[in-house]
């Protein structure tokens, strides 16, 4: 019986004490003899010379033959061309020209708000979240051609001309951040719903993006609406167009997502069942507080 054998061992084996416990390698005498400490070496060695005076030359230089020779660390050049590429965010470009073309070919409905799932459903963009791609950016090519009022939600805008081109036609632009998990849900919404995961709650942008998304000049979604209104007026005066009458917009045009919301009309935490055409909502208070935080 295994219990009997165990008891036998207990009778024969020694008591567990500090001496019996396994010691870390660095505390054994054998290891300490092979790796002497700096202070030990200095105590043994002479009191003069570069070692005792902390004046050793850098590695790769022989003090006798040192003339004109570089230390090893300087013989290899530093070429930091791709520094920070692991954290750099990429945005796929979409020009105003392609937008206008899609609207003219009736692949996009300008009367409804245009955001990332609408543009990804056209199958013109393949966004890969694992390749550090964070969405789409608006390019100002075709700024003169663009002539439809739209409610556009994009992830990045670099040029003021693109913003002006949209607002000149009477449209609205907002820049919106999506973290990679939310992005994978938005790129292929149908596939995401078939996975059977609850709709994620969108994260706040990383620290180096907060300045951009709180800037009214970039129409960031976390910027003060008062400042955004001022900027719209400023751009209208700068580029020479008139802002449209606000009463003429339909309520569908004015739709704006909450900063934690990903899909229009759907809340984070909901589980969408496409097959049975139902939505399952969490009732537990724990989940409700999380998804509303």
């Amino acid at each position: 019986m295994p219990i009997e054998r165990g008891l036998q061992y207990l009778r024969q084996m020694q008591r567990v004490t500090l001496k019996n416990l396994p010691m870390p390698l660095e505390k054994t005498l054998k290891w300490q003899k092979a790796h002497p400490d700096e202070t030990k070496i200095k105590a043994i060695m002479s009191r003069k010379g570069p070692i005792s005076r902390n004046a050793l030359p850098p590695y790769g230089i022989d003090p006798i033959q040192a003339e004109g020779r570089l230390p090893w660390i300087l013989t290899v050049p530093k070429e930091p061309y791709y520094e920070g590429i692991e954290e750099a965010r990429q945005y796929l470009p979409i020009s105003l020209r392609t937008l206008q073309r899609l609207i003219d070919l009736r692949r996009i409905n300008p009367e409804k708000p245009i955001d990332l799932p609408v543009l990804c459903n056209t199958k013109l963009f393949s966004i890969q979240p694992d390749q550090r791609q964070f969405g789409l950016q608006l390019i100002d090519e075709g700024a003169d051609l663009f002539s439809t009022p739209i409610n556009l939600e994009i992830q990045w805008v670099a040029s003021e001309l693109a913003i002006a081109a949209i607002e000149r036609c009477g449209g609205v632009l907002t820049t919106r951040y999506f973290d990679p998990i939310s992005l994978s849900a938005l790129i292929d919404a149908k596939k995401f719903f078939e996975r059977g995961e609850p709709i994620p709650r969108c994260d706040t942008p990383p620290i180096n993006a907060v300045e951009y998304y709180t800037d009214p000049k970039q129409r960031g979604y976390l910027a003060n609406p008062d400042s955004i209104r001022e900027e719209r007026q400023r751009l209208a005066q700068k580029y020479g167009y008139k802002l449209p009458d606000p009463s003429k917009f339909s309520s569908l045009f004015r739709l704006k997502k909450d900063p934690r919301q990903i899909f229009y009309g759907l809340e984070p935490g909901w589980l969408v069942n496409l097959k049975d055409q139902t939505i399952l909502k969490p009732t537990d208070s724990k989940f409700q507080t999380f998804y509303h935080s």
């Binding site: 409804k112 719209r232 569908l252 909450d258």
Partner: protein, 204 residues
Amino acid sequence: MIPITNFVYRQCSALSTRQFLIISRTYKSNLSYDKLFPKSQSLDVLSGPIQAPTSESSGKEKFNGFIPIDKLDVTHRHARGPGGQHVNKSLTGVEIRFHVESATWIPASIKPRFRDMNHTRINRDGYFIIFSDETRHSLLNQAHCLDRIRALIREASLVPKGLSDEERKTIEQRKKAASQERVIRKRIQSMHKQERKPSSTDLN
């Protein structure tokens, strides 16, 4: 039961039930706009009070910066320079005209100075003309024209400060001192020249 579909283009003038449900449902997290900006005057980006000027300066002394775009005559023309088919076919040059006398958005105190300083840009009928084809986009060229108009109005509105009494006094004093020194130098030079001539005194 709420069906979820892609946004497919359909001509619908009235709000369908789905659109109504989307609009009426309001999800508010801890980061909702009314919590982020509790003191804002209006959370709507389209409508609300604006501090920047939205109408003309109404005959006041100072130009408030607002230019009414309806009152400007904007025409798109051919741009100049190289560029092949693109520059020949596309009308990216922007010309802006307006009648100076009937422009109420320029304050009356600035207008005569503006007219004098830019008399080369104003034609016989009294229209101020400015043209720009700096960039490939007509929108940017329009912005360039308006920027130049604003700069010209600002130049016209800057009145020179003028000299104060002290400054005038010092300038007069300096002028006097300079002229006195000049006269002294002149006299010395003339004496030199006279000494060179044979004198009329009789040396016996």
